[in-house]
């Protein structure tokens, strides 16, 4: 396998901390007596431990309200379809991922749910006034992408949550891009639902995600089946978290995610941010110096999750990705990044943008190699 420099961490992070790989290996090697609904006395419940680690990362008041699923999309679907019914109105934004847009549009088509998508500006920020004006008497859910996976724009979640609270409308925060990348405190900013994915900045494997469902915001279970407990009940148990965790869980994934979360805590979010900001400053300064590069991302790194979208004048977006990958062994991503609506605002439809997303594991040398490659590519046309 060739050596690649990897800048596609907004899609999935790589490399993973060795602890993640070790823990998963151990879990798959050991006799499965621990943690998956087994009877053994004093079994350490690895799933319970995972809930506790995640709850403490998000400063969530009750770890039993962390539920696991196969990814963020699954939980976003569950909450959207579980809470919205015919005649309801939901508010979301142009910065959403298809994992929100498609379930919302499906709820609209199937059940006549009314939708308002509030526009964002050309950097990806939500206009708070427009957002405030979108509420109606029948508004029952607000869905917000915390950090744009296209421009990196971080929404002001404190303000958004205050407004939603004032209107007594539950807020569903899609933290797929932000969990592990910035500090999220449910103590400081309570939300009804927080959805996270395990395989991005939380450094877990692909195929694991979850949600925090605040007390008072339960919705009907979206799947019914075996839960390992309360088996005499002919219906899905009411008790959370089993209410939402049907069938055999992805325990190796959960164990890997636990170690990913522990890694984030061990390094510390502020250290992670500090390192990424230092690298991003070098990169953004160099990209701004290059007059052929068009940046679609915010300048203020404190208001960014650290993802950058760009184009190079006279180059097709797809060719930028092809050349970086195949000629320079540098992995970035090109296209719409599953978030088509924001490209309407950026003016980048139908081809999208080129996107760079760093992780804690990237180095200054790698960033310098990327800058050199971008400069070399851009001067040729």
């Amino acid at each position: 396998m060739e050596n690649y420099i990897y800048f596609n961490n907004a899609a999935t992070s790589w490399p993973k901390p060795p602890e993640v790989i070790e823990a998963m290996k151990r879990n798959l090697t050991e006799c499965p007596v621990f943690g998956d609904r087994q009877n053994i006395a004093s079994a350490k419940d690895v799933v319970k431990i995972a809930r506790e680690e995640i709850a403490s990362l998000f400063e969530a008041p009750d770890s039993n309200r962390i539920v696991f699923g196969s990814n963020a999309s699954e939980l976003l679907n569950a909450i959207i379809h579980g809470t919205l019914k015919s005649g309801d109105h939901a508010i979301s934004t142009y910065a959403e991922h298809n994992s929100v847009i498609r379930p919302l549009n499906t709820a609209s088509k199937r059940n006549g749910v009314e939708l308002t998508y509030v526009r964002v500006d050309e950097r990806g920020y939500l206009d708070i006034d427009d957002f405030s004006k979108a509420f109606k008497d029948n508004t029952r859910l607000v869905v917000i992408n915390h950090g744009s996976n296209v421009t990196g724009a971080l929404q002001d979640i404190k303000k958004i949550s205050d407004i939603a609270f004032r209107h007594k409308v539950p807020l569903l925060l899609d933290a797929s891009q932000t969990a592990g990348n910035i500090k999220i405190s449910l103590k400081e900013t309570p939300v009804a639902y927080l959805v996270f994915t395990g395989h991005k900045a939380l450094f877990g494997p692909r195929g694991i995600g979850g949600a925090y469902i605040a007390e008072g915001f339960d919705f009907p279970p979206f799947k019914q089946g075996g839960t390992g407990i309360l088996s005499e009940d002919p219906f899905q148990p009411e008790r959370i978290p089993v209410r939402y965790e049907t069938g055999t869980r992805n325990v190796p994934g959960i164990v890997g995610l636990t170690e990913g979360v522990r890694f984030v805590k061990k390094i510390g979010i502020s250290k992670i941010i500090e390192k990424k900001h230092a690298l991003l400053s070098i990169l953004i300064d160099a990209m701004k110096d290059n007059k052929k590069i068009i940046l679609y991302s915010p300048d203020d790194l404190d208001k960014s999750v650290g993802t950058i979208s760009f184009a190079i004048k006279n180059w097709l977006i797809d060719d930028i990705g092809y050349v970086l990958t195949n000629s320079f062994n540098i992995i970035i991503r090109t296209g719409l990044h599953c978030a088509p609506m924001i490209h309407e605002i950026l003016g980048t439809l139908p081809i999208g943008t080129a996107r760079i997303s760093l992780s804690y594991f990237n180095s200054e040398e790698e960033v310098e190699r990327l800058i050199k490659a971008l400069n070399q590519i851009s001067v040729l046309k």
């Binding site: 050349v323 195949n326 000629s327 320079f328 081809i351 590519i377």
Partner: protein
């Protein structure tokens, strides 16, 4: 031995209506072969890159691109003239009939 296409892989289509293939040749492509593509359309060849990149573009018809020393060539057929473009590429690269069903499926 003459270079020939030995396999054609149909790729997932990112853009509606554009058909995407990988042509896999019998040998890694070198300068002579790559330069001969210039007769097909607008030709760009960036030899200064760590792995040189070539691209051939014919407006409304097709785009070919790839890397020197690789046997793979990415082929995009634009919706306007798919059949004609395909026939032209089949003739140009002397693509064997046995590979045709894969192409025709698209």
């Amino acid at each position: 031995m003459k270079i020939s296409v030995v396999k054609i892989e149909v790729l997932d289509d990112c853009f509606k209506d554009t058909t995407l293939f990988d042509f896999i040749f019998s040998k890694a492509l070198q300068d002579d072969f790559i330069n001969s593509l210039s007769s097909l359309g607008e030709f760009e060849y960036y030899t200064e890159f760590p792995k040189p990149f070539y691209k051939v573009f014919r407006n409304g018809s097709f785009m070919l691109k790839g890397i020197k020393n690789s046997p793979n060539m990415r082929v995009s057929l634009f919706p306007e003239n798919k059949v004609e473009s395909l026939n032209e590429l089949i003739a140009f690269f002397h693509i064997d009939n046995s590979l045709m069903p894969i192409l025709k499926k698209e």
